[in-house]
C-alpha cells in the first residue's frame, strides 16, 4: 500500500480524535479571537490604519494561534506511547508526518474561517472583490505555517519544556513566511487591490523548501 493510503488512514484518525473532543480547535479559536479583539480595543484603528496594520495583526494572530495548536500534535502521542505503535507499523515515517501536517492544515484553516470575518468586521476592512486572492494567500501561508510547525512539534515533543521550546524554535524560522504573507495580504487591503505576485511566489517557495526538507528528514524526525 502506498504512503498516501497510510497517510489517509492516519489523517482520518487525527480528525476523528480532534472532532470527538474538540479540545484543540475550540481553545485555539477562542485564543485567536481574544488576540484580535484585544488588539482592536487597544488601538481602536481608523479605516486607513486598519488597512496599514491589519495584515500584520491578522498574521501575528495566526502565528500565535498556530504555535498554541501545533504543540500537542506530537506531544499527545506520548500519552500512552501511541507513537511507539505507529513507529512499529510497516509504514513510511512520512505517512505519519504528512497525516499530522494535513490535519493541522485543516484545523488551522477552520480557525482562519472563523477569524477572518471577525477581523473584517472589527477592523472595518472590506474583503469583497479580493476573497479568491485572499484565500490563495491564506492557503499558501497556512501550508508554510503547518508544515514547519508540525516538523518543529516533532522535534520539541521529546523536550521537557516543549510548550516553551516550540514557539522559540518556530517563530524565528517563520519570519520570511510572516513577511511574505503580510505583504501579500497588504496588497489586497489597499483601495486599488492587486495581488503582489512576488510575495506569493516567495510563500510558494517557502512551502516547497520546507515540504521537501520534511520529506527528506522524516526518518530522523519520527525516530526516538
Amino acid at each position: 500500500m502506498s504512503t498516501a493510503r497510510f497517510a489517509a488512514i492516519l489523517l482520518a484518525k487525527e480528525l476523528r480524535l480532534e472532532f470527538r473532543t474538540r479540545e484543540l480547535l475550540s481553545a485555539t479559536i477562542v485564543f485567536a479571537l481574544v488576540i484580535v479583539v484585544l488588539f482592536s480595543f487597544a488601538f481602536d484603528p481608523t479605516a486607513a490604519e486598519s488597512r496599514r496594520y491589519g495584515p500584520g495583526l491578522l498574521w501575528i494572530s495566526f502565528l500565535f494561534a498556530g504555535s498554541l495548536m501545533l504543540n500537542p500534535s506530537f506531544a499527545r502521542e506520548r500519552l500512552n506511547d501511541t507513537m511507539d505503535a505507529l513507529r512499529m507499523a510497516p509504514i513510511s515515517p512520512f505517512a505519519i508526518l504528512s497525516a499530522k501536517m494535513f490535519a493541522n492544515f485543516i484545523f488551522m484553516s477552520l480557525v482562519e474561517v472563523v477569524l477572518v470575518p471577525v477581523f473584517s468586521v472589527l477592523y472595518n476592512v472590506s474583503l469583497s472583490g479580493v476573497v479568491a486572492q485572499l484565500i490563495l494567500v491564506l492557503v499558501l501561508g497556512t501550508i508554510g505555517l503547518t508544515v514547519t510547525g508540525t516538523v518543529f512539534s516533532a522535534i520539541s515533543s521529546h523536550a521537557r519544556l516543549r510548550e516553551l521550546l516550540l514557539p522559540l524554535l518556530l517563530l524565528p524560522i517563520l519570519t520570511p513566511l510572516l513577511i511574505a504573507a503580510v505583504e501579500a495580504t497588504a496588497s489586497l487591503f489597499v483601495e486599488q487591490p492587486e495581488l503582489d505576485r512576488t510575495w506569493v511566489a516567495l510563500l510558494a517557495g517557502f512551502d516547497i523548501v520546507f515540504l521537501t526538507a520534511s520529506w527528506l528528514l522524516c526518518d530522523y524526525l519520527i525516530e526516538e
Binding site: K13, R20, N80, D81, T82, D84, M88, P90
Partner: protein
Amino acid sequence: MSSLGISFAGIEKRFGSFFALRGISLQIHSGEFVALLGPNGAGKTTLLRIAALLAAPTRGKVQYTNTEHPSQPLDPSETKRQLGMVGHSTSLYDELTATENLTLFAQLYGLDDVSVRVANALETCGLGSRAGSLVRTFSRGMRQRLAIARALLHAPRLLLLDEPAAGLDRQGLAWFSATLENLREDGCTVIMSTHARNESLELASRAIVLAAGTVQDDSGPQGDPRRLLAALRRTPE
C-alpha cells in the same frame, strides 16, 4: 508457519554517561519462549525496545533470521510486519473505541477482512461486549487485554512482551496464559520480560537473567529454565 529468530551482538546502549546495556550478546532461536528476568533497571525494557526497532543501540548489531529463508536478510518493513510488542504503556488511543483502535492498526498492517479480524480479536480477549466503548472508559486490565489483542492482530512471528501481565486480573491472566500457550504451539518466538512471578512464566523454554545491563545468567536454548525461574520465585516481590 515461518518464525523469526533474533541475535544481539555486542549490544551497548548509553543514555548520556549512563550505560543501560553493556555488551549484550545473545542468540534467540525461532520458536523459543524466553523469560527475560531481572530487577528494575536491569536493562530489560531497553533490550526489548532495541529488538522492536524502537531504539538504536549505541554499539553492536541486531540481526533477524526467518526460518523460511534463513540466508535472506529481511528488509526493515518485512521485519516490522513480523514483530509485535506489548510495552509498558498500552499504545492505545483513549478517545477511540476498542474497535476503532484495532481497525486503525489492522489497516496500517495492510490486513484483509479487517472488520472480521477485529471482531474476532475483541471476542477472543473478552471485550466483544465493549467493542463500541471508548478506551478511556476501560479499566487497567481491560486496556491491557486490548493492548495484547492489538499486538497479536497481525499474527507476529516474534512477540516482545514487557511486563505484559500488569493490571490483569485472574481471568485476564488465565486468558493471557492460554494465548501464550497457543502462540508457543504455533512456533511463534516470544521474549517476555518480567521482574515478578506469574503463571505464564511456566511456559518459558529458556530464562535469561539481566542485571546492571549485562547477562548475569542464561539457561541456554537446550537448558532447563526452572533453576532460574525458581530463583525468581524465591525473590520477595
